[in-house]
């Protein structure tokens, strides 16, 4: 007999706090860009209001869905997502932005299938791994099907190409395999071969080497590969302890590209300082803590693995994003969950945390 109680309010609080900071910072960072490109400093804020509303709505909807029903949706959702992923390459449907096919245009709306697939992948993997929890001990029967699924999805995403999302998907899968109880030898083997794959990919295309290692010494190529890293550091550095003050960013005057999306964390560091940036890091810590806590307290393997997957996916994406901005990871174009301006990404993240909150109602 399931006991229903209140969802994890700390988790909800962390999510809403991040959402609120994001909403303010999207306005602060996009005002100049909106004014210059659209003669309207509120241009991005208006759109963001709609996305946040849609996101909250999505969270409420998924929160209400019964987990067993959700589990039945898993496979169909995955098939739809794969179709969408293929569709981005179809001329007329796919929309090319900055040399990558990541979007599908539906009238005035455009959606990002990679966001759809991230969520459905976590759902399907949790479902597969929970079918027979003991199969995970076998590499062929337990680990390989999950790896195969991940390989298919990662391959499709690399076609766009979208290195950041691929990384998130790979890392999330890895986390779920570990949580599901895969053998230590398998895990180490996978980690080793993953590393080998990365080395091989770099070796195959030397430009990646330059791009990837530019973050170590961005000043070597300040106008090329090092440009974004430098501009992010030039935002973080002057922020100091308390920041230049809300709205006082100078790097937002078109120095820092993607400052309201991928690099919004730099804006936080510039305007709100080390204190503000650390607050955001701590909120993600809170999110990860409460998310994993939900997973640990789940009373069945499926909801536990689902909670692990959702928490890991969002936390990993946040860590990669903040790592890129602060210059400890190479530049990969992914958004900061809850905070970056962004349509599909925000809505599907909220859809995911709705599920997480749902699970938190059913734990011990």
């Amino acid at each position: 007999m399931r006991r229903y109680h209140r969802p994890d309010l700390v988790l909800l609080g962390a999510i809403l706090a991040l959402l609120g900071i994001g909403f303010i910072m999207v306005y602060s960072s996009s005002a100049v860009r909106g004014y210059i490109q659209f003669d309207d400093p509120y241009h991005f804020l208006k759109a963001e209001s709609i996305w946040v509303s849609l996101g909250l709505l999505a969270m409420l909807v998924s929160y209400r869905v019964d987990l067993q029903m959700l589990r039945r949706f898993a496979k169909p959702a995955l098939y739809i997502a794969i179709v969408l992923l293929v569709a981005v390459k179809v001329p007329g449907l796919g929309r090319r932005v900055n040399g990558a096919d990541r979007w599908i245009g539906l009238g005035p709306l455009s959606i990002q299938p990679s966001e759809v697939i991230k969520l459905s992948m976590v759902l399907v993997m949790a479902h597969l791994l929970a079918l027979n929890p003991h199969k995970i001990q076998s590499f062929r029967k337990g680990v390989l099907p999950v790896l195969g699924l991940m390989g298919l999805i990662a391959g499709l995403i690399m076609l766009q190409p979208d290195l950041g999302t691929t990384l998130v998907i790979a890392a999330t899968t890895f986390f779920m395999l570990i949580a599901a109880g895969a053998k230590t030898s398998h895990i180490l083997g996978l980690g080793g071969s993953g590393l080998g794959l990365v080395v091989a990919a770099i070796a195959a295309a030397p430009y990646r080497m330059r791009r990837i290692f530019a973050f170590l010494d961005p000043w070597a190529d300040p106008l090329g590969n090092g440009y974004q890293t430098i501009q992010a550091l030039l935002a973080l550095g002057p922020g100091g302890l308390f920041g230049l003050g809300l709205g006082q960013s100078r790097q937002k005057f078109l120095y820092l590209p993607e400052n309201h999306t991928d690099f919004i964390f730099a804006m936080i560091g510039e305007e709100l300082g080390f204190v503000g940036a650390t607050l955001v890091v701590m909120l993600f810590f809170l999110f990860a803590w409460r998310g994993f806590r939900v997973a640990m307290r789940s009373e069945d393997v499926f909801s536990g693995l689902l909670a692990v997957g959702l928490t890991a996916m969002i936390s990993i994406q946040a860590m990669i994003n903040m790592g890129v901005v602060s210059g400890v990871l190479p530049v990969t174009g992914i958004t900061l969950p809850f905070i970056s301006y962004g349509g599909t990404s925000l809505v599907f993240t909220m859809l995911g945390v709705g599920v997480l909150l749902r699970i938190s109602r059913e734990i011990r």
Binding site: A180, L233, G237, G240, F253, T278, W289, F292, L305, G323
Partner: protein, 684 residues
């Protein structure tokens, strides 16, 4: 173990991994934001702020008394920030407006204000009124900044010393060049924060970095003494030189030095130029011939020969020497300038007569080694180190190849090539008690607040002769003026020592006939010299004393009076008896110049032409402010009178400075025998 238990353990591990990464992240943020923050902030500022330079005001060049010779007047520079112009989208209208105000082509302005650059100058040296109009229009992307333009209020005065600065206020010649680093100051700027698109930030702060103004360079030159010298040069070039028969020389220099300190009080050469319009000047007129040209000094150099002979005790002043009219060296005769020779003389008389055989005897007694030793000691063949670019070294005959005949001609100032500044420096050493000094042009450097940054320091090069030798030679040279060939520079009431010189010109390696370089060097008062003056006049048909001595006399008298040197009651008021056989070219009939001061030009010209004079004018205006020669002086009939024109007859001029407020006027007027040299019995 149940799968749930395994899962919980594994999740704890995963959470630990996430925490570890977040800790790394916070450490990294702390490093970037706190430890590297200041450094990154500076880098960010460097990329955000762009400066409009504010030019420093270039320091003045002044004479020793603070009279301004070069100054900077405020102008403005109009600039554009092309990104702002493009953003406003009114480039065409802006260019049209500016072209009307600046008188520059519209197309040119449009090209500039839309150029792909952060900052573009449209026009420099814009008048402040025009710049104010432009500011009032508040054209988008157009701004103005302070600038300055060089102005030489005294025009041609001391042009070769001052030199000039170019359009960017960079020193190009003269003191403007040699002291550029002190004059130019340090530019400041107005810093403004810009966005990456080149548009200034809306609430951007402006940072004003004040420029550091340039220092003032105060010269050793005295503008008045310089003016006396230049007046004489003008007179010469106008064909008004005494004994010049109305001819003009090719070029001339007058150098005035304080022999006790090495300070140059005047360094004037003609032809000259107006540094305000240096672009229009003939490059040859920009040449500072007193420093950059060498010449054979002729008899003026005998001062050095005499100094060496006296110092080495090779002669005694009272010792007798017989001049038979020529001196035979290596089978060749070097003739005395006087046919038949001067006969029996003491060595004092040898000097008075400028007797060539007498000086050749001195040279032969000194011998090659000692003579060359003194040449070097006195600084010939080396730069004096005066602060002028392109100083010549002069050329000494190769000692290894020199023969006794070369020694003979060198003793009388031929063969060797020296610069006027070398000769005057050497003569100053003789005059000042025996110490060779470095000739200097800069008295002190004064900071913008008036504080002296670098004071003047006398620079002694070496002692060349003893105090006693110096005193003895001063007396002999005074006797040259009082009794000998230098009498044309005799100043009643003052003790003047000096020596004439005439040298043949060397053109393409051989002497040319009928054209000479006349020179005269003098110092006064002879017992305690205050001034040493050298005049070198190139391209005259006469003996040095006849042409150059009056020039030196005139500058000497005016300068001594100006410096407040009182006439010496012990000094003779008339020169000694003219020597038999001193021959000078005959002069034309003398005529008295009428005074036309204060007259309108037309009337002055009429008066002068009725008196039989030709008229030249200098300056612009309707009124005669000054004239050369002055009224009531006697000059050759039918020669030129130079009129200085101006607008205000009341404006004082240097030429009449002593008539304003000098209590010594009565004293000098009461002295007998002060007559214009051209009308003196000597010239007749």
């Amino acid at each position: 173990m149940s799968p749930l238990v395994v899962m919980r353990k594994r999740i704890a591990f995963l959470f630990f991994c996430v925490c570890a990464f977040l800790v790394v992240l916070i450490i990294r943020l702390g490093f970037v934001q706190l430890s590297q923050g200041a450094d990154l902030r500076k880098k960010a500022d460097d990329s955000h702020y762009r400066g409009v330079p504010v030019a420093p005001k270039r320091g003045n060049i002044e004479d020793r008394n603070g009279n301004v010779l070069a100054m900077s007047i405020s102008t403005e520079t109009v600039y554009a920030i092309p990104a702002e112009v493009r953003q406003a989208g009114k480039a065409k209208e802006t260019a049209l407006t500016l072209s009307k105000l600046l008188g520059k082509s519209e197309a040119d302005i449009e090209a500039r204000i839309t150029k792909r650059s952060a900052l573009e100058y449209i026009q420099k040296q814009v008048k402040p009124e025009v710049a104010a109009q432009i500011r009032a229009l508040a054209l988008p992307g157009i701004g103005t900044t302070e600038d300055s333009q060089r102005y030489y209020p005294q025009g041609t005065l001391a042009c070769h010393i001052i030199g000039f600065a170019g359009i960017d206020n960079q020193g190009l010649e003269g003191i403007e060049l040699t002291r550029d680093s002190e004059l130019k100051g340090v530019p400041g700027s107005i810093l403004q924060e810009f966005g990456a698109n080149g548009i200034p930030l809306p609430q951007a702060e402006h940072q004003y970095l004040a420029p550091k103004q340039g220092n003032t360079v105060r010269l050793t030159i005295d503008a008045n003494i310089q003016a006396f010298a230049e007046r004489e040069l003008k007179k010469l070039m106008a064909g008004q030189g005494t004994n010049m028969n109305g001819q003009s020389p090719k070029s001339a220099s007058i150098l005035v030095m304080d022999p006790n300190t090495g300070e140059m009080l005047a360094l004037a050469s003609t032809p000259g130029f107006d540094p305000n319009h240096y672009q229009d000047a003939d490059p040859s007129a920009r040449r500072n011939i007193a420093v950059q040209n060498g010449y054979e000094p002729g008899s003026t150099f005998k001062i050095i020969t005499l100094a060496a002979a006296l110092q080495e005790k090779k002669i005694k002043p009272t010792e007798h020497f017989f001049d038979k009219g020529a001196y035979t060296v290596l089978g060749k005769n070097v003739r005395c300038w006087k046919a038949g020779g001067h006969g029996d003389q003491t060595f004092v008389q040898v000097a008075e007569n400028s007797c060539n055989p007498g000086f050749i005897e001195m040279g032969q007694r000194l011998g090659m080694d000692t003579f060359y030793k003194y040449l070097r000691e006195f600084g010939f063949g080396q730069k004096t180190g005066i602060e002028m670019s392109g100083e010549a070294r002069g050329i000494l005959a190769n000692k290894k190849k020199a023969t006794a005949l070369d020694l003979a001609t060198m003793s009388i100032g031929q063969t060797n090539n020296v610069t006027p500044i070398q000769l005057l420096t050497g003569v100053s050493a003789v005059a000042n008690g025996g110490t060779l000094l470095k000739p200097q042009l800069v008295k002190e450097i004064v900071g913008p607040s008036g504080r002296v940054v670098t004071p003047f320091e006398k620079e002694e090069v070496r002692r060349v002769i003893s105090e006693d030798t110096s005193k003895l030679e001063r007396e002999i040279l005074e006797s040259v003026v009082t009794n000998g060939t230098g009498r044309r520079s005799f100043l009643p009431g003052y003790r003047v020592a000096g020596k004439t010189g005439t040298a043949q010109k060397v053109v393409n390696g051989s002497y040319i006939q009928g054209e000479y370089i006349a020179s005269f060097v003098a110092f006064a008062p002879a017992d305690k010299p205050r001034l040493a003056i050298l005049a070198v006049i190139d391209g005259v048909p006469f003996f040095g004393g006849a042409v150059a001595a009056p020039v030196v006399q005139s500058v000497m008298l005016d300068s001594l009076k100006y410096l407040g040197v009182k006439p010496d009651p012990q000094a003779p008021l008339v020169p000694g008896k003219p020597m038999p056989g001193l021959e000078f070219p005959p002069l034309k009939k003398a005529a008295t110049v009428p005074s036309v001061l204060g007259m309108p030009v037309a009337e002055a010209e009429k008066t002068l032409s009725e008196a039989g004079f030709k008229v030249q004018t200098d300056g612009q205006g309707e009124t005669v402010l000054d004239q050369i020669p002055h009224g009531d002086t006697q000059v050759e009939e039918g020669s030129n009178v130079l009129l200085y024109l101006g607008k205000d007859a009341a404006a004082p001029t240097l030429a009449h400075w002593w008539e304003d407020d000098d209590e010594d006027i009565e004293a000098i007027n009461s002295l007998a025998g002060r007559v214009p040299i051209s009308a003196s019995p000597l010239g007749q």
